[in-house]
Symmetry: C2
Subunit: 425 residues, 2 copies
């Protein structure tokens, strides 16, 4: 039933009407549904789209979806891609179609979005002690016997708060102990002793059920192959210890989860060596950034750089913005800024200049700063850029690229817009 | 007619239904209209709101709106607050009710939002060379004789591109020459000679009408009182020169515009000395950040620090997030991150800790870093913070605070939520 409602909700996305809510869409498309607009197969460059506009490559998106499906299959990993990256139900659906076990999320609002669009399995990679949100989760669990939900716990007090909020609800909430990545790292218990204390607390309440262990290896201080593998080894050992101690006695399977977008090769290697436990093991990988990949940060850090024989992700975003000022030979400005481009990890990178239907490489053009609504470009002698040119930029950090756009045209290589991806941040 | 449609559109905002689109709202309010939810006068802390949630103080918002209305009046300035800050039609409306001449915006998408909600006068503080956007503007001008629209020009090529896009339209588009703030500054012509060349180009086309000069003094390199005043003096002198040369002959009034949120005292002083020109002068101030003000950046830079006898803006935002992890005596983590808090200029500042209905100051608690969905807190010995606590944060930079929230509860001092502000980014 939840799944049917989700399918209907997805279909309704295509019936949303083009209006002032969505940046970059053609003004003369106002009033059309997104389905009608997609059916027109407009060209991003010539059919009325306005700048700035962020586009996702249809081919690269599909390539990335397939590559991680293959990767997870090959390594015997279940996959719950982190949905916080895109917060796009249509991409969640495609991830599920490409074999994903479910979707990872970070906060209850994101779970609401996923549930609205029919996601049946959610891994909440966070402790959840917000009473109204817990009661909402409990109601979802009660209403839909097929809904699978897991979240972190990393403190006895967290267990107490969860129990207080959940007292009297129908199904216990499944939790995994979060093992912190080390002193000074992010969330998660710092020691195995702390993990045992939290597990004891979980065992002492009826509202929670311990089903596994998890963490996030990219937060290992000084993350490098050896310390990351060592931490993954601790995580696996903790699972084995807990299993031996009968701590997962109430579960149907044991969840062991790790894996962002920087170390899934190490996760695959270490999880391959998980010993036989008393129950089936769900080895759950949670990488999210792969779906769009990027042009700087993850291009540099992707595990595929270490295992090129397993494939390569392709950066799927291109931000198009227009030069509105060329006040000196050293400077140019486009009409996109912090509102449109990720800027937390690296500046956007100018790739190409488009003028009168032809493109040339953006040689000698560099983003030097961002204002709210402008990118500052430094232009070297000979850089060929004029007012009116469109510049295509690559971006760094998918999570802070998606979150600046509520609707993203999906384009084929020739610029034909074939779909529109709605996000909910 | 446009105004009536705008009033209807504003009214429809209150009929939007609470659902998965909006972070922080009570799950048990799903399906209510915003008007119905506001009528319930729920308490932000006790009536089901989920964390993280950004709130705007009703009293401080009203204070800031009144203060800048008074300030502009006292100094004989017309006021077109920069709407890019909030992109909130309900705040645009309140700014107009508080005497604003119109709304300043940065990109055509923002103009579409403003027009949807009935804004009759728009100052676009950018050159606009995007052909589909220009044709849309021309259609708005043709359809609504009362619509007043102005934008920057800073290049001859820009004039040519605008003219090419606007050829054959009914009303000319009003433009002001943008005077750049100096070598290495942002957009705008670098010299008076360039300004004359652009003005000549405008005079040579029928699609544009030159009505003034403008710029943005905060981009003066090494901005300080003297260089800022010197640049404002250049801007005023350019207006006088152009007037004397008959360059504004086609206009009904001469627009002279400057003024962000850091130097409006200098703008007021220098604009007070604009000599009598051949036409009435519209001295247009464009500050935007004042509406919410902030706790760090603009608190430090506001001109009211130099003229305290004229009043003081009050920071109106408070971000509430919940502690989800306290893994060591030196660390705590809340469930808000880059998705929820401005981080481009300064980190959020922890103000208070709320536990079981009482608040204490967030002594010894400091934001040390942001992840996408977490704030990292460093906690000094004795800092009183536990898992489950709500922490109230002040933010820096209104523009990148508003843009992370599509719906913002407006709260009275006791936490009663009296209204909901919708944004369109």
């Amino acid at each position: 039933m939840a799944r049917e409602a989700g399918t209907e909700a997805l279909a309704r996305l295509a019936e949303e009407r083009v209006d002032h809510r969505f940046k970059g869409l053609p003004p003369d498309a106002t009033g059309l549904t997104l389905a009608e607009l997609a059916a027109q197969r407009r060209n991003l460059f010539t059919d009325g789209f306005t700048t700035p506009v962020l586009a996702l490559s249809a081919e690269r998106l599909e390539h990335n979806l397939k590559l991680m499906e293959t990767y997870a299959d090959r390594h015997g990993l279940a996959f719950a891609p982190h949905g916080k990256t895109s917060m796009a139900p249509l991409l969640f659906q495609r991830q599920i179609e490409h074999g994903a076990w479910g979707i990872t999320l970070a906060v209850p609002h994101q779970v609401r979005v996923a549930r609205t669009y029919g996601i049946g399995r959610v891994f909440l990679a966070n402790e959840l002690v917000d009473a109204p949100a817990l009661r909402w989760i409990a109601a979802e669990l009660a209403a839909d016997p097929e809904f699978r939900f897991l979240c972190y716990v990393d403190s006895v007090r967290g267990v107490e708060l969860m129990d207080a909020a959940l007292r009297g609800t129908a199904r216990p909430v499944d939790v995994v102990i979060e093992l912190g990545a080390g002193e000074g790292g992010r969330t998660g218990v710092r020691t195995e002793a702390d993990a045992r204390a939290v597990a004891d607390a979980v065992a002492g309440v009826e509202t929670l059920r311990l089903v596994g262990v998890a963490g996030y290896e990219a937060q290992v201080p000084g993350a490098a192959p050896e310390p990351v593998r060592a931490w993954l080894g601790r995580l696996v050992a903790l699972a084995a210890e807990f299993d031996k101690a009968g701590r997962f006695a109430g579960a149907e399977e044991i969840v062991v989860s790790a894996g962002g977008s920087e170390w899934f090769d190490a996760v695959a290697d270490v999880f391959a060596k998980i010993p036989e436990l008393s129950l089936p093991v769900l080895k759950l990988l949670r990488s999210g950034a792969y779906v769009s990949h990027d042009d700087v940060h993850y291009s540099r850090l992707t595990p595929f750089n270490r295992v090129p024989e397993e494939g390569a992700l392709e950066p799927a975003f291109r931000l198009w913005a227009q030069v509105v000022s060329r006040p000196s030979p050293e400077q140019a400005f486009v009409n996109a800024g912090k509102r449109d481009a990720a800027y937390d990890l690296d500046h956007p990178v100018a790739h190409m200049v488009r003028r009168d239907g032809t493109e040339h490489p953006a040689t000698g053009i560099e983003v030097t700063a961002l204002s709210d609504q402008h990118l500052w470009l430094g232009t070297a002698p000979g850089a060929d850029v004029e007012v009116g040119d469109w510049i295509g930029f690559g971006l760094s950090h998918p999570c802070t690229s998606f979150d600046k756009w509520q609707l993203i045209p999906v384009t084929e290589a020739d610029g034909t817009v074939v779909d529109y991806i709605r996000t909910f941040f």
